[in-house]
C-alpha cells in the first residue's frame, strides 16, 4: 500500500513537472494591500496556475474557500497558487491579513 502510494506520488510529480512548464499564465500583484488585477478571468474546467506577487513589505495570506486555497505569501516575494478545474462562475478571494482592502475575484468562463 505504502509502496503503491509512493509510486503514485512519483508519477504525479513527473506529471505536474511536465504540466507546470506551460503554466504561469496568470499573475496577480499585491501592492498597498490591494490586488491588481482584482478580476482574473480564467478558462473553466481546467487547472490553472496563478502567481501571486507580493510587493508589500509584509506578508499576506491569499485565502479563498471558494477556490479551496490558503497560501501565505511573504513580504517582497511571490507564491504559486494552483486552482481548478472550476465550473463557470465567480470565485471570490481575499488577503486575509488585510481583508478590508485586499479583495478580488476569479471568473471562470
Amino acid at each position: 500500500m505504502r509502496r503503491a502510494l509512493a509510486a503514485f506520488g512519483i508519477v504525479a510529480v513527473v506529471a505536474t513537472g511536465a504540466a507546470s512548464a506551460r503554466a504561469d499564465d496568470y499573475v496577480v500583484t499585491i501592492k498597498d494591500h490591494r490586488f491588481t488585477p482584482a478580476e482574473i478571468k480564467v478558462p473553466a474546467n481546467q487547472r490553472v496556475t496563478i502567481t501571486v506577487v507580493n510587493e508589500d513589505a509584509t506578508a499576506e495570506e491569499f485565502d479563498s474557500s471558494a477556490l479551496k486555497v490558503e497560501k501565505v505569501v511573504a513580504g517582497k516575494s511571490k507564491g504559486v497558487v494552483r486552482i481548478g478545474p472550476l465550473k463557470p462562475g465567480r470565485y471570490p478571494f481575499i488577503g486575509e491579513y488585510h481583508e478590508a482592502t485586499a479583495k478580488g475575484v476569479v471568473i471562470a468562463e
Binding site: 504525479a12 487547472r47 485565502d63 479551496k68 497560501k71 501565505v72 513580504g75 504559486v80 494552483r82
Partner: protein, 276 residues
C-alpha cells in the same frame, strides 16, 4: 485593534480547540501538564522559525513547498492521533478505573503523551506561524501599529481563554465516559485533518485525481465564519468538499476505528507490551 483581535483570535481558536481536546483526553495521566507545555512551547518556537523562513519554504519544490509542508504537518498529526486512540482503546479503561489513584497503567501514559505533545506542537506551529507573520507585519508597518499589536495580543489571550473553556466543558463529562467521548472527538479531528491534508496535496499539484466539488453548503454555513471554523477544526467541516476529500475523510475514520478495534484488549488476555 478589533480587526487584529479577530484575525488573531480565529487563528488561535483552531489550535486552541485541539489543545483543549488533548488536555481532556489525557485527564488523569501523570506528567501531562509538562508534555502539553512542551508541545505548546515547541509549537511557538517552530511557528517563529517557519515564519522567518516562510519565503524559502514557499519557494521550495517549484513553489509547492508550503502546501507540502502543511500536508506533511497534518499527516503526522493524523498518525499521532491514530496512535493515541489505539493506545487509549487498550488502556483507557484501566486509566478511567484508576483515575484519582496512582496506578501503573497511569504512569505508562508516557508513550501516547509524546504523540499528543507532537499533535499540540504541530497545531500551534501551523496556526501560530500565520499569527507570527501577521503580528510581524503590524510591527513592521509602524504608524498605527501599537493599537493593532494590543489587539493581536488580546486575540491570543481570548484564544487561550477559549481553550480553557473547551477543556472545562469536556471536564463536565463523567469519568467513565470521558475517554469514549474524547476518542470520538479525536477520530473526527483526525479525519478532518486528513481531508485538509489531501487538499494541500491537490494545491501542490501532487494528487489531482477526483477533484470535482461534490456540494456547496457555503450559503448555509461558510467555512470562514467563526462557527464554520470551529466545525472545520472539530469535525472537518468543509463547505465545498471534493470527491477525494470525502473519500479520505471516510477512509481515515474507518482506519481509526479498525485500529481501535484491533488494539482493544480481549477479556482475560492482556498483552503487557501493548503500545509498540
Amino acid at each position: 485593534m478589533l480587526g487584529a483581535l479577530i484575525i488573531v483570535f480565529r487563528e488561535v481558536i483552531e489550535a486552541g480547540l485541539i489543545v483543549g481536546i488533548v488536555m481532556a483526553a489525557t485527564r488523569g495521566v501523570i506528567g501531562r501538564g509538562r508534555w502539553i507545555t512542551i508541545g505548546i512551547a515547541g509549537g511557538v518556537l517552530g511557528a517563529s522559525i517557519v515564519a522567518v523562513f516562510a519565503g524559502a519554504i514557499s519557494d521550495a519544490f517549484q513553489g509547492a513547498g508550503q502546501e507540502l509542508f502543511n500536508a506533511g504537518v497534518l499527516g503526522i498529526a493524523v498518525i499521532m492521533l491514530m496512535w493515541h486512540n489505539a493506545w487509549m482503546a487498550r488502556h483507557g479503561r484501566e486509566i478511567a478505573d484508576e483515575m484519582g489513584r496512582v496506578g501503573t497503567a497511569v504512569s505508562e501514559g508516557a508513550k501516547p503523551l509524546t504523540a499528543l505533545a507532537i499533535v499540540v506542537g504541530l497545531a500551534v506551529l501551523r496556526e501560530g506561524s500565520e499569527v507570527v507573520l501577521f503580528l510581524y507585519g503590524i510591527m513592521a508597518s509602524g504608524t498605527s501599529g501599537s493599537a493593532l499589536l494590543v489587539g493581536g495580543v488580546l486575540g491570543i489571550a481570548a484564544g487561550a481563554a477559549f481553550t480553557a473553556l473547551t477543556y472545562l466543558g469536556l471536564l463536565a463529562i463523567p469519568n467513565r465516559n470521558i475517554f469514549s467521548v474524547t476518542s470520538w472527538l479525536i477520530a473526527l479531528l483526525a479525519a478532518g485533518m486528513a481531508a485538509q491534508a489531501i487538499q494541500f496535496l491537490n494545491n501542490a499539484g501532487l494528487v489531482v485525481a477526483l477533484d470535482r466539488t461534490l456540494w456547496d453548503t457555503s450559503w448555509l454555513l461558510s467555512e470562514k465564519s467563526i462557527f464554520g471554523r470551529l466545525l472545520h477544526t472539530l469535525v472537518g467541516y468543509i463547505d465545498r468538499p471534493t470527491e477525494m476529500q470525502l473519500i479520505v475523510y471516510v477512509a481515515t475514520l474507518l482506519a481509526m476505528f479498525l485500529l481501535m478495534r484491533i488494539a482493544r484488549p480481549t477479556p482475560r488476555m492482556r498483552i503487557p507490551a501493548a503500545a509498540e
